[in-house]
């Protein structure tokens, strides 16, 4: 476990997480959420949890993002918040 990579990816995770909540376009929020999932998958690979990382890569960064984009497509895309 190499701690400089760990610290760098952890700060990046927090920044992307805050970014996914602050953008005004819901499609952008869905894509940033996919990036957040993928960063989590990298963190778990560094810690040695390969099964968990595989599941999160396929489920979080794959199927979960598609569900979000599908739901945003069927409702509205703009938000004031």
């Amino acid at each position: 476990m190499v701690w400089p990579i760990d610290l760098a990816i952890l700060t990046l995770v927090v920044i992307v997480g805050i970014g996914a909540l602050m953008v005004k376009d819901l499609l952008g929020a869905a894509i940033l959420f996919g990036a957040y999932s993928f960063m989590m998958c990298l963190l778990w690979t560094i810690m040695g949890a390969v099964d968990v990382a595989f599941t999160e890569a396929s489920v979080g960064a794959g199927v979960s993002t598609v569900f979000f984009v599908g739901a945003v497509f069927r409702t509205s895309r703009r938000t004031k918040d």
């Binding site: 390969v50 489920v59 794959g62 199927v63 599908g70 069927r74």
Partner: protein, 275 residues
């Protein structure tokens, strides 16, 4: 509302930070989480189940009961999506649009009149956009390879990272790729609604059925060494084979649920035009 949220978040955060002072330092081999039960799992897995992937062995054999209920949770999530979006929406729209493929002329047919012959006309909707040839062809070529890889992940779960969940999600994703690159109707023609719902339940049935079979053969529920008499192997290899069977059940259930939820969410239950 934002002020209340901020106060709650700060208070809870402070409480957790105060409690985190007592935790053991990170990656300490002598922490309490690593000394109670997991040394038994790490050291005895090869002797008792002959499966090198410790996580798969613990997931499907030592903690098999949790995994069975988790499969049931996935199935019930698929059923909940279906009941919310699809079950009460049987009426068809009043006018349907057809498009002649060769010339691009659109025809609007009202309810009750005759439909044109189906080879020259394709059915479209108000959200129809022309499909891109590159995406269509590339995705059609890729889908068999994705499915072979998913089957490899399920079958090789004993020796490498993987197992039932991951393979099932990748299998489901292959059909979702078909639905995104082409029409939702093409994907529904390949894998219909009824087959989907049936496969979801069959997956849970395989898992619970294996456990019940072990119960009928005289041992405890989900104790796979009872399968030694059915499969004619020694009890340790029977546990390995039992793990493979339940992983297949989990994979089938997860695949069907992912496709089901995607179909319902991306078309708002109407199944006419997806993403």
């Amino acid at each position: 509302m934002k002020v209340i949220g901020l106060i709650i978040a700060v208070l809870t955060g402070g409480l957790l930070i105060y409690a985190a002072g007592d935790f053991p330092a990170w990656s300490d081999p002598a922490s309490p989480a690593s000394t109670y039960l997991s040394p038994h799992f790490i050291e005895k897995t090869m002797e008792e189940t002959s499966v090198p992937n410790i996580v798969t062995a613990v997931l499907a054999d030592y903690r098999g009961f949790d995994t069975m209920f988790e499969t049931t949770v996935i199935f019930s999530a698929g059923v909940a999506c279906f009941l919310l979006l699809r079950a009460f929406r049987r009426k068809q729209p009043e006018a349907r649009h057809y498009r002649h493929v060769l010339t691009g002329v659109t025809v609007r047919i009202k309810e009750g009149t005759k439909l044109p012959p189906s080879e020259d006309f394709e059915r479209i909707d108000s959200l129809w956009t022309p499909h891109d040839l590159i995406i269509k062809t590339v995705c059609r070529l890729l889908i068999p390879f994705i499915q072979i890889f998913a089957l490899y992940v399920i079958a090789h779960g004993h020796h490498s990272p993987g197992g039932g969940f991951q393979g099932g999600v990748i299998l489901g994703a292959s059909i979702i790729v078909l639905a995104i690159s082409q029409d939702l109707r093409t994907a529904v023609k390949r894998m219909g609604e009824k087959l989907d719902a049936l496969l979801c339940a069959v997956g849970v049935l395989i898992y619970a059925g294996t456990g019940a079979l072990c119960l009928l053969l005289g041992l405890n529920f989900l104790d796979y060494s009872a399968l030694a008499s059915v499969l004619h192997v020694d009890p340790i290899t029977a546990r390995s084979h039992g793990i493979l069977i339940v992983e297949i059940g989990v994979g089938v259930a997860v695949m069907a649920t992912m496709i089901w939820i995607y179909n319902n969410v991306s078309s708002k239950g109407e199944y006419d035009q997806g993403l």
